[in-house]
Point group: none
Chain length 215, copies 2
Amino acid sequence: MIRIILVDDHAVVRNGYRRLLDAEPGLQVVGEAASADEANALALRTVADVALVDLSLRGSSGIEAIRGMLARQPALKVLVLSMHEGAGHVTQALRSGALGYLTKYSEPAEVIDGIRRIAAGKRVFSPEIAQVLAAEAIDGDGALAHLTPREFEVLRMLVHGESASGIASSMHLSPKTVLNYLTLIRQKLDADNDFKLLHLAARHGLVDIHHALGA
Amino acid sequence: MIRIILVDDHAVVRNGYRRLLDAEPGLQVVGEAASADEANALALRTVADVALVDLSLRGSSGIEAIRGMLARQPALKVLVLSMHEGAGHVTQALRSGALGYLTKYSEPAEVIDGIRRIAAGKRVFSPEIAQVLAAEAIDGDGALAHLTPREFEVLRMLVHGESASGIASSMHLSPKTVLNYLTLIRQKLDADNDFKLLHLAARHGLVDIHHALGA
DNA sequence: CGGAAGGTCGGGAATTTTTCCCGGTTTGCC
DNA sequence: GGCAAACCGGGAAAAATTCCCGACCTTCCG
């Protein structure tokens, strides 16, 4: 029996997965979380084999959820299920310990199959993601590649319009620390103004520019 | 019996809704579509009471799907279920004929309730969306409207990537004056950071976003 | 015509933000 | 263990922004 934790901030989506997975023999959902904090708390009291994680959680990022859960349950196998195909998201997720990455365009059967493979210790990727990874490999190190996970997370929230203090409280950090990260990020990305920052973030799929700014 | 059409490009999400709704007495999913084209074709051959539409479809927009379906089935009641809370999305959807707008943060029970209310001809909105609508109503003709010509021009150049000193020399002004204008602009637009500025400018068609970011 | 209202332009000082530098802790890896 | 790198935040210097001010000009209207 493969025990599964769902991490997604959309109640309806969690509900859908629970019904889908519980109906499958050998799979069982043992917990749900809607935020990184909830995921961390859940990982303390509920042991599972596989975590199905959506990257774009409401307050914070799924990256944080992954890191937190793995810190508490190192044996947990993480399968990311995200709408975002941007290279930045994928590499950050893998670097944070995720074993696989599917998009939400995947068919239910693919997801179920993916969970079984992940539980068996294998890696699983959507075709689109494989594309992205290949491009990344050819491209070399994108500008965002040598940001640390924390820096990446701060940047992600920033370009989504969060204020520094908002990021701080959301990540349980001192505002001062966030500001220091921001300085580092601007240096690493060689961005003298915020527009350039946004441009870089958009290029690497950190934010969908049309969706974020378009009418 | 309320007959429902699902329009969402995520197979897993559609699957989740189908399971959720079919399990509910009095509700029945009679069709699914993953794109605006599919939705239009579906509306030709399948009569339904309510359409549950996700705005961000892969190829085209859910707005298109709404218009197309309503053209073919004017009696169809459209309930938008989107991740996006942006004012632009909401007003566009309503203007296109949607009767209600829920976010994907809604609980399954809210969605089911919403469908029943929509089918009864009522309007349904998430609390977040109500907020957005209220803000929109108060905002009136749009924030950019009461910028002075000079302020407007400064903003336009700024979002095109110009630096403050660049704007100054280009407009034959003291850099100091430009900085003063920027302060005024940020106040008038209630933008505490540059991302919000860019967001507003883009929304009002002030700038081609790709060119603005130096692509 | 006079005068109020609003836009334009910039200086100087206060204020805030950003940067730079520091040290301590933790983590992963030879 | 020792090393490198990430993580976290304090403090002070440096830079940017805001706030407040006055001057000039045009427009509108009683």
